[in-house]
């Protein structure tokens, strides 16, 4: 195993790591003190220089997002996206439960840099412990003067409060999140305009994922050059990789971006759990196209995965061994997408249900060979034809499993049972 010193998870495992006293003892809030003495433009420039990209799935450069926020002193908002729900992903939960202050410190610095005075945590309704940890940590931060009026004598004011979602995957999409925060159905909005122009209550709004924000204090403290020394040239910094499925030690592993997939699975997650060899891997959560054993040496960074026809997504690595029915995998994921489609765009609402029904009949041995063309044609009808990226995400498991395991689909149809169940 390598000797990577954790950055984001450095406090995980320390007793009472969620308490402010422990966070302060371990150097917490020192980046905030430093940041509040810096000109705002300089902070934006440092984050741009660091190359930090969003960790929620899309990988958009964080500094650019900050730069898109208008510089005039008008009403601006900020949202902290804790709506983690991408199947296979359990990293934000770890940070919120074990190190909420590292995120709060990132929120205050980001809000100061873009001039937002009101920030909201939007947390998935199912994360009850997370809600409690957020509320307690925010309360502690207020008591110590890190939140509220005139933070640390800087003249900067910021209020932060927690808002609970109520069970809708789509609210992880930033404009759906904003609608939900406004008390509405969590349906994505048309983009442009982007939230940096028209966001919460139609004012400029900066939305960031929890893991993205947790990087900010470290960048401020140690500088952009240091940050760029971790990871690859274009995918800088470290990443929380959530490994699950058929591995010996499922869990969160923080490693530099660009760490080979094989290293993560074999050296960190303990390798395959049994005698069966690896059959397929989903590299970045349910929305990302699957990879096959010949692609295991791929470096886990934004560019390498894009080149391989997949995506880094949330960094949720789902490992599957030989014997796994890939049609069932696709069906199960489609069940998720069909359930979670917000219903606004017809291709996604109707298409995902079609796909689920076709996959179900193939799994049940009632499929026909023409169903394979039908699957592809429905996918083509959805892809690129929806308001938000969920439509594109939903077709990935189908198209990628068809591409790599078409013979299994055909076997299911011709023999009315699974090839893997022999």
């Amino acid at each position: 195993m390598g000797s990577f010193e954790p950055i984001l998870t450095r406090n995980v495992g320390v007793p009472n790591s969620e308490r402010i006293a422990v966070y302060l003892e371990r150097g917490g809030y020192s980046a905030l003190r430093k940041a509040l003495k810096m000109p705002r433009e300089e902070l934006v420039a440092i984050v741009k220089d660091s190359g930090l990209r969003g960790r929620g799935g899309a990988g958009f450069p964080a500094g650019l997002k900050w730069g898109f926020m208008p510089s005039e002193p008008i009403t601006k908002y900020m949202c902290v996206n804790t709506d983690e729900g991408e199947p296979g992903t359990f990293k934000d939960r770890l940070l919120v439960e074990h190190d909420p202050h590292s995120i709060i410190e990132g929120v205050i610095i980001a809000a100061y840099a873009v001039g937002a005075q009101r920030a909201f945590v939007y947390i998935r309704g199912e994360f009850f412990l997370g809600v409690k940890r957020w509320i307690k940590a925010i309360d502690e931060a207020y008591r110590r003067g890190f939140l509220g009026k005139d933070i640390l004598g800087s003249g900067f004011d910021l209020d932060l409060s927690v808002h609970r979602g109520a069970g809708a995957y789509i609210c992880g999409e930033e404009t759906a999140l904003i609608n939900s925060l406004e008390g509405k159905r969590g349906e994505p909005r048309m983009k442009p305009p982007y939230p940096a122009q028209v966001g919460f209550w139609d004012e400029p709004t900066l939305v960031h994922n929890v893991e993205t924000l947790a990087n900010v204090p470290h960048i401020v403290n140690r500088g952009a050059d240091w940050y760029r020394s971790v990871g690859t040239e274009r995918s800088t910094g470290s990443k929380l990789f959530c490994v699950s499925g058929h591995v010996r030690q499922p869990g969160n592993y923080e490693l530099p971006l660009g760490t080979p997939l094989r290293t993560i699975i074999e050296e960190y997650a303990g390798g395959m759990r049994g005698d069966r060899p690896l059959k397929a891997v989903i590299p970045g959560g349910a929305s990302t196209p699957m990879l096959t054993p010949d692609q295991l040496d791929i470096p886990m960074d934004f560019e390498s995965l894009a080149e391989a026809g997949s995506m880094l997504g949330t960094g949720a690595i789902v490992v599957m061994e030989e014997g796994t029915c890939m049609v069932e995998v696709a069906r199960r994921l489609m069940d998720f997408f069909a359930h979670e489609s917000c219903g606004q765009c017809t291709p996604c609402r109707v298409g995902t249900r079609h796909l689920r029904d076709i996959l179900t009949r193939i799994v049940e041995g009632k499929g026909e060979l023409s169903d394979l063309d039908l699957l592809e044609s429905v996918c083509a009808g959805i892809f690129g034809n929806t308001l938000c990226p969920m439509g594109d995400a939903a077709v990935n498991p189908v198209l990628s499993s068809l591409k790599h395991f078409r013979d299994e689909y055909e076997y299911h149809i011709q023999h009315k049972r699974c090839k893997e169940a022999q």
Binding site: E84, D92, A166, G183, K184, R185, G245, F336, H339
Partner: protein
């Protein structure tokens, strides 16, 4: 043209999800009367309140059991194994199928996809509590405890 939702007070509207949570705590679900009350208190049309409540899976517009059990059967839990067995076991123990409520109104059984417990599977939620690394023994104990708690509570309310 402005829609109803736009001319109303956005600050009141922003409280809708919180108000629905509070209302749901009273009766365990959102009855038509509860939705009506929320609409009145926030000056939001009833149709909008219902439309919003029905969008989110954690809001129930039909009665559910006192304990809502949600077992994760997402991809990672399916692969790790145990999730499906857990559902079968609960169906047997509670004598109901997924989507049903026990006749005494105590338990409702549901399956959900992804509770962010992919590394600690099998997992389930009972109301707001999360339970991970489950075994049938642990589930046995938990269900018995909940049943006992409900019985004690009922006895207390009768005396």
């Amino acid at each position: 043209m402005a829609t109803d939702a736009q001319v109303l007070d956005p600050a009141k509207r922003a409280r809708l999800l919180t108000a629905l949570y509070i209302a749901q705590e009273q009766e365990g679900y959102l009855s038509p009367q509860a939705l009506e009350r929320v609409a009145e208190r926030l000056d939001v049309p009833e149709s909008e309140v219902f439309s919003t409540a029905s969008f989110y899976t954690l809001f129930h517009t039909q009665p559910v059991g006192q304990y809502l059990i949600q077992v994760c059967t997402g991809l990672s839990c399916y692969l790790a194994g145990g999730a499906e067995r857990l559902v079968d076991y609960l169906e047997l123990k509670l004598g109901i199928k997924v989507g049903e409520t026990t006749p005494d109104g105590l338990f409702t059984l549901e399956t959900v996809q992804c509770l962010a417990s992919c590394g600690t599977s099998p997992a389930m939620r009972v109301n707001d509590e999360l339970y991970e690394n489950l075994t049938t023994d642990k589930v046995d104990m938990l269900v018995d405890q909940l049943r006992e708690r409900a019985e004690r509570w009922a006895a207390l309310n009768q005396s």
